[in-house]
């Protein structure tokens, strides 16, 4: 009765499949709905929001709220818009991500391929840094930043985020490189490549997937951070703090359309990183190094 069993297997497969797609579709709608609300309302004049339905499409389309959020909105005491703060965030996030990812890769390489006495303890300590809550280090960090003259500056923020990120990036790269064949490193040693040459020519070219993971993680965390930005930003506050100042302002009319536009502007870079880098997740760059 092989044929009969196969029939039932196929039809029950169809039912399951419909069910799966239904669940996926509902989940997607659930997650997209808030974003839809934000986009729609950021393109309406304010009176349409205050006077009517949040879910409706705009009757008169306008990009005025976006322009205002970007360049003329009142942030704190000055009407600069979010533009300078966006720049601050970029200036903070790019070096922070690059440095912490680079250090994490180097750490992972050393911890797996150049083992030394006590390396697991060191790794454990690095891992421990992932579990320290931000609030605990605020005061010691402020003291240190003050002493080394980086308080209230972008380099100070970069340092804070690198210190916090290195634990995570090391964890990623160490676990990735642990499955990287040692024989490749040995072959490269016999071929005459040194410590950095092996790292640069052999390890890094196949680290694509984990670098994407690390960059997405670090970029999102550093970009979205509010606490460190508010505490150590000084005059160079990042986007998140500025957005808070825009939305939480207690004077004047609440311009919801401008707030929505500002919020999307603040979220856009992380969204972009996901869209651009996400597809590299699945690429199997290790294929063919050892027996297949």
């Amino acid at each position: 009765m092989a044929a009969a069993t196969q029939d039932t297997a196929v039809s029950s497969g169809k039912i399951t499949r419909v069910f799966i797609y239904l669940v996926l579709l509902l989940s997607a709608l659930f997650y997209l709905l808030p974003f839809f609300v934000m986009v729609v309302n950021s393109l309406k004049p304010l009176d349409e929001i205050t006077g009517g339905n949040m879910m409706a499409l705009p009757q008169t389309w306008t990009i005025e709220p976006w322009l205002k959020a970007w360049s003329t909105a009142q942030i704190g005491v000055e009407a600069t818009g979010l533009k300078p703060y966006f720049l601050n965030s970029i200036l903070m996030v790019v070096p922070a991500v690059v440095i912490s990812t680079g250090l994490g890769a180097l750490n992972g390489y050393v911890l797996t391929k150049w083992r030394f006495r006590g390396d697991t303890i060191l790794f454990g300590l690095l891992l421990f840094s992932c579990f320290i809550p931000f609030q605990i280090v605020l005061i010691p960090m402020a003291t240190i930043l003050g002493k080394i003259g980086l308080a209230g500056s972008i380099p100070g923020l970069v340092l804070v985020h690198v210190v916090y990120g290195v634990g995570f990036t090391t964890l990623y790269y160490r676990n990735y490189y642990a499955s990287f064949p040692n024989e490749l490193v040995r072959a490269a040693m016999i071929d005459g490549a040194g410590f950095f040459r092996i790292f640069w020519r052999i390890m890094l070219p196949v680290s694509g997937p984990i670098t994407v993971v690390s960059v997405i993680w670090q970029f999102t965390n550093v970009w979205n951070d509010f606490l460190f930005g508010a505490s150590f930003g000084g005059q160079t506050q990042p986007m998140t703090v500025a957005l808070n100042n825009l939305v939480q302002s207690s004077t004047g009319v609440k311009e919801y359309n401008v707030h929505f536009a500002g919020a999307i502007l603040a979220a856009l870079p992380t969204l972009l990183v996901y869209i651009v880098a996400g597809r590299y997740f699945v690429r199997g760059l290790m294929a063919g190094s050892v027996k297949g």
């Binding site: 024989e183 040995r186 072959a187 016999i190 071929d191 005459g192 020519r201 760059l285 063919g288 190094s289």
Partner: protein
């Protein structure tokens, strides 16, 4: 003083000594195979020659230059790994010339060396591919090519064929042998496969428990194994080992064994020194091919003893038929011609070539004759 000299080398991890006083002198152009079961220390020894592991005591020198503490890249060696260890991000050509590039060889010379080796190994059409696009046998060739391009003093092979399927393995084995005969390079080759060891080597070092059990030509190892371990490890099926008692009949030493029916059979020794062991217990080693049907017995042998025994199992293997019988209370395998008229359960005449018998001391397990 050999071309590659391993003298009194030991290796310890903490307090545990895993290699004990290894002494091997390899001449230029020799093909030395290190063979033994897993954990015997053969790969460790190879890694020490390569410089990937420290030498605890003793010395290794190549061309008279002491290599202790010298970086792997400065020993002028090349190694082929079990997993091939091809760099996945580079093309075949880049893989093969990476070593030359690291040693600062100019591009035109690299390209020439690459072209020569690619031609030799017939992989010219693969040079622009990535390792991931190659089959197992092709990867194997590329891995060898990467070693050849460097023109090193010593080639080190770490079980290079164990990831290939059975047929390809035999082909590549022949190919490696051809290559060695053509290039006359010095090779140290690690394997756990005793057939690879026998076919490829000019000399074999059989290792077990961190000791070199025997070092000799394949024929020496096969015909005169120095102890019970070497005797049973080399050869397939393994050498039959049966307990025997030495007795003197008309002044000539004989091996007394019990046959399957519990009766005593006497097999005359060819080895004169067995008279010293009269009245004592020994272990008699007989290779399966020295225990055969009377028509298939070696005609040149001057000492064939025939004895009747019951056949337990027959296993036709195409070229040969393997027959299991019971002698001296142990199961014994005989190798017979494919068309010998042997049937299981019947009595059969077994011809024992006593000239080829090897005798061991049952206490020390060392060979006492021949």
């Amino acid at each position: 003083m050999g071309f590659l000299d391993i003298s009194n080398v030991t290796k310890s991890y903490g307090n545990i000594e895993v290699l004990h006083h290894v002494d091997i002198a390899v001449d230029e152009g020799e093909f030395l195979v290190l063979v033994g079961p897993s954990g015997c220390g053969k790969s460790t020894l190879l890694n020490m020659i390569a410089g990937l592991e420290d030498i605890t005591s003793g010395g290794i020198s190549i061309k008279g230059r002491v290599m202790n503490g010298v970086h792997p890249s400065k020993r002028n060696i090349a190694m082929v790994f079990q997993s091939y260890a091809l760099y996945p991000n580079m093309t075949v050509g880049q893989n093969m010339t990476f070593g030359l590039e690291m040693h600062g060889v100019a591009k035109p010379e690299r390209d020439k060396a690459l072209a020569d080796v690619a031609k030799l190994l017939q992989i010219e059409q693969l040079l622009d591919r990535k390792p991931g696009q190659l089959s197992g046998g092709q990867r194997q060739r590329v891995a060898m090519g990467r070693a050849l391009v460097r023109e090193p003093d010593v080639f080190l092979f770490d079980e290079p064929l164990s990831n290939l399927d059975a047929k390809l393995r035999v082909d590549m084995r022949t190919e490696i042998k051809k290559l060695h005969e053509k290039l006359k390079t010095t090779i140290v080759y690690v394997t756990h496969d005793q057939i690879e060891a026998m076919t490829l080597s000019t000399r074999i070092a059989v290792m077990n428990d961190g000791y070199v059990q025997q070092l000799g030509t394949p024929k020496e190892i096969y015909d005169t194994p120095s102890n019970l371990f070497v005797a049973t490890f080399m050869g397939s099926p393994a050498m039959n080992i049966l307990p025997a008692k030495v007795s003197m009949i008309e002044g000539v030493p004989h091996a007394e064994i019990t046959n399957g029916a519990g009766q005593t059979a006497s097999l005359r020794f060819s080895q004169a020194n067995m008279a010293d062991w009269a009245g004592k217990e020994v272990l008699l080693g007989i290779r399966p091919e020295a225990l055969t049907d009377p028509e298939g017995a070696d005609r040149k042998s001057r000492n064939i003893v025939t004895l009747q025994n019951a056949v337990d199992v027959i296993e036709p293997a195409g070229a040969d038929t393997f027959v299991t019988t019971t002698l001296g209370d142990v199961a014994v395998i005989a190798r017979m011609r494919a068309d010998s008229d042997v049937a299981s359960g019947q009595m059969f005449d077994f011809a024992v070539n006593m000239e080829k018998a090897v005798v061991f001391n049952p206490k020390t397990e060392k060979r006492i004759a021949p």
